[in-house]
């Protein structure tokens, strides 16, 4: 049947050959790039969550200076395009790090592409995560936290046993949105030259001149990642909302 399809539409066979997993097909390269994208997205998302947790707690419980600094951080990151933030952090980040290390007497480090990508995107994600987590923590009924305090639970224990589990289902829609943003923002790293899916696609397209084929294939891969993520987050949300009234 495949042969019949190829005879009717010859260009299809060329496209399928371009995408095959073994060289000279570029499919393997694309999948490698997709794996790198996924790693960067996961790392950036987790880093963003960590920064976001500290940011949200700082905004809610911190002193006035901390709150203002965090407000500047979130406003700047949410107003400046990610591309420019990525460029500034990419150059300034490695520059400052190496200068600091040199000042301390150590040899400059080489930061691998994946780590730099995670750091840069993580800082961007952190600002959005701060807002999402702050909104979620504020929505936790104050009575529960007051009751925990009445029981003598310390701040960390209260957060761990009461606030965090209660805010998680409230934060999940925002967090799943953030995860999608993380996966799509990895494409911007192609402009800085990180070897992830979009860059591999552009290299493959440039080498074979089959732009349409490769960009469609990359789009399909991203869509696959998005749809699978959507299912996973839906399952997590259902599990955490067990026993709660449906929204």
């Amino acid at each position: 049947m495949l042969d019949w399809l190829y005879s009717v539409w010859p260009a299809l066979e060329v496209s399928v050959n371009h995408l095959s997993l073994q060289p000279p097909g570029w499919g393997g390269n694309l999948l490698r790039g997709a794996w790198a994208s996924l790693q960067i997205a996961v790392g950036a998302f987790l880093l963003g969550l960590v920064i976001g947790t500290f940011g949200a707690l700082g905004k809610l419980n911190g002193g006035p200076v901390a709150r203002d600094l965090l407000a500047v951080y979130t406003t700047v990151v949410r107003a400046v395009p990610e591309l420019i933030l990525i460029l500034i952090l990419y150059y300034a980040g490695t520059d400052l790090l190496n200068q600091a290390l040199r000042a301390m007497g150590y040899r400059p480090v080489e930061i691998s592409g994946v780590v730099a990508g995670i750091a840069v995107l993580g800082v961007v994600q952190g600002a959005y995560a701060t807002e999402v987590l702050r909104g979620a923590i504020q929505s936790v009924p104050r009575g529960q936290i007051e009751a925990a305090r009445a029981f003598g639970m310390g701040a960390v224990l209260t957060f761990r046993r009461v606030t965090f589990p209660a805010m998680l289902p409230l934060a999940l829609p925002g967090l799943s949105n953030l995860w999608l943003i993380a996966t799509k923002d990895t494409a911007l790293l192609a402009i800085v030259g990180f070897s992830e899916l979009t860059l591999e696609t552009r290299q493959a397209a440039g080498a074979t001149r089959a732009y349409f084929t490769f960009f469609l294939a990359a789009g399909a891969l991203y869509l696959l990642m998005t749809l699978v993520s959507g299912r996973v987050f839906g399952w997590i949300e259902a599990r955490y909302r067990r026993g709660q009234v449906a929204p």
């Binding site: 406003t75 107003a79 799509k184 494409a187 732009y211 349409f212 960009f215 869509l223």
Partner: protein, 269 residues
């Protein structure tokens, strides 16, 4: 004395004239003055013309793509909220695909993907559209508009669904035609509910505009890139660029605040 002060001035006095804020404002002014004096800004006069053109291009691409995208988003949202299966399913598929793939990829697919098909159809070069198909901005406008439509289609779907159904039923029972209901009750209320989200999404659209520089549209980001390449200065153009975008974002936020005030007239929140 404070009780006779203008409330706006009072708020400013309360928020700014506090010790820690004064210190921070002073530090910020200090940083700005240090930056203005110690960093290299000699390139600004030479590129100011190009920069103004770039800012204009960014602004009209943003404005036009938001308008066109929103015009497409209303039917997309309506189809998903109230339409029959054969309309709702394609609308949902469109929104899912747009929201599931990066804008950069969509942009390159539209520009380079379509471009790679041109050599196979030589008659395109003779057609009326050729002067537009040659340039880059139509593709940028198309990609940005479709992207905005995809995201706002989803927002409008939620907005249409959130209008209390009782109002629509009451209007129907009074004999209003479907179109009249849409025009006078459903759409205005959905718009009013969606407005805050739309403001945020417009800022996100502004943050997406630098990507058009990769398909040779000279927006303000492309001008900053050119400055960096001509002069080899790394940070200063990027910092000024970030400032310009923050100003534009502030203007968008202000515009939407005014819009919200207009739409919320008479509504008890």
């Amino acid at each position: 004395m404070s009780s006779t002060m203008n409330p706006a001035l009072r708020r400013i006095a309360d928020e700014v004239l506090v010790p820690h804020r004064l210190v921070m404002v002073a530090v910020a002014i200090g940083v700005v003055i240090w930056a203005a004096m110690s960093m290299r800004w000699h390139w600004i006069p030479r590129y100011s013309d190009l920069a103004i053109q770039g800012i204009w291009r960014t602004l009209w691409l943003l404005g036009l793509s938001v308008l066109i995208g929103f015009t497409l988003a209303v039917p997309l949202g309506l189809a998903q909220a109230a339409g029959p299966r054969f309309l709702a399913a394609p609308a949902r598929a469109f929104c899912t695909v747009i929201r599931g793939t990066p804008l950069l990829l969509q942009l390159w697919l539209i520009y380079f993907g379509l471009g790679s098909l041109f050599p196979q159809f030589p008659w395109i070069r003779e057609s009326e559209l050729w002067p537009y198909l040659r340039q880059a901005w139509p593709y940028a406008l198309l990609a940005l508009s479709l992207s905005f439509a995809g995201y706002e289609g989803e927002v409008m779907r939620g907005a249409f669904k959130s209008v209390p159904h009782g109002q629509l039923e009451a209007a129907r029972s009074m004999g209003m035609s479907r179109f009249a209901i849409l025009r006078r009750i459903w759409l205005p209320q959905a718009l009013q509910r969606a407005l805050p989200t739309l403001g945020g999404e417009t800022v996100l659209q502004m943050k997406a505009t630098p990507l058009v520089a990769t398909i040779t549209v000279i927006d303000i980001y492309a001008v900053a890139s050119r400055v960096r390449q001509d002069t080899f200065i790394i940070y200063e153009p990027l910092l000024l660029l970030a400032l310009i975008y923050m100003v534009i974002a502030g203007m968008i936020a202000l515009a939407f605040k005014l819009l919200e005030r207009h739409f919320n007239r008479g509504i008890v929140v």
